[in-house]
Symmetry: C2
Subunit: 145 residues, 2 copies
Amino acid sequence: MFSKACEYAIRAVVYIASETDETKKVGIQEICDHIEAPQHFTAKILQTLSRKHIVNSQKGVNGGFFLDSVQKKKSLKNIVEAVDGDQVFVGCGLGLKQCSETKPCPIHNQFKDIRNRLTKMMESTTIDALAIRLLKGESVLMQTK
Amino acid sequence: MFSKACEYAIRAVVYIASETDETKKVGIQEICDHIEAPQHFTAKILQTLSRKHIVNSQKGVNGGFFLDSVQKKKSLKNIVEAVDGDQVFVGCGLGLKQCSETKPCPIHNQFKDIRNRLTKMMESTTIDALAIRLLKGESVLMQTK
DNA sequence: TTAATAAAAGACAAAATTGTCCTTAATTAA
DNA sequence: TTAATTAAGGACAATTTTGTCTTTTATTAA
Ligand code: FES
Ligand code: FES
């Protein structure tokens, strides 16, 4: 469904959201310890998200990654689009060059419905909603240990 | 969503279903011409599907690939599972080792619904239903030309 | 029986994705 | 001002996916 990079991205951003604000930041090491992701690979992904203003970062002592209150209100769709692009939301399920109503692939009608539901779900799910459930202990970001 | 191999697989099988039965077969070249897929790569995928009895094949003069009436009644889910495995139907959306009700990832509740709908859709869509719509001209398997 | 045909199979090759390591730049506490 | 810290960036490596090419095996028509 999503690439590994995108899975790490969502897990990382939800963790960052749950632990930070404008005054408190977390480093890449701590993030990766809590989401069970490769550190340098995840660092690169967060660089991308930082350039796209989905997360903030600060170098130096007491630096790290953090999300402000505006960023926490963004949807998961923003993260996915930043990392994987929009094909999962608009592309043809059978890989035709473009999904089309007039020249549809055989599964277009059925697939469109699923794809639209996925899109709506990702649009309506905010980062902070997930962070809150995580803090309540209602969900986890890793399973071993 | 699905791998390239899986996209080619579905397109190929729908094409084969639309053109063959126990008495009429199609060769790999013709298949690939009609679904715009790389010939040797698709051939390998069809070998896999043949071993798993999702398609039939016959070597030699007048040989080729074909689907019998029983095979045409199979669902798309069978094709996907044969090529990509079942992770798209049972795996965690955020890549946790396994999707779990008791240790769910943050998007589990929302994601499960989408994933279940996808599964049902792929289970209830049969190969021959797609082949029929293709023959009626209501759908296409390639867009250029 | 032979020649033609078509899938099966194996060896590679290219490209994309995933992952690692090392150096550089920015920030801040001392 | 200096040293420590932390993200940014670049180079590179491993793995997986995708794609190509050649040889082998099975089948059948002539
Ligand atoms: S054309 Fe394939 S999903 Fe729309
Ligand atoms: S645990 Fe992630 S989808 Fe179920």
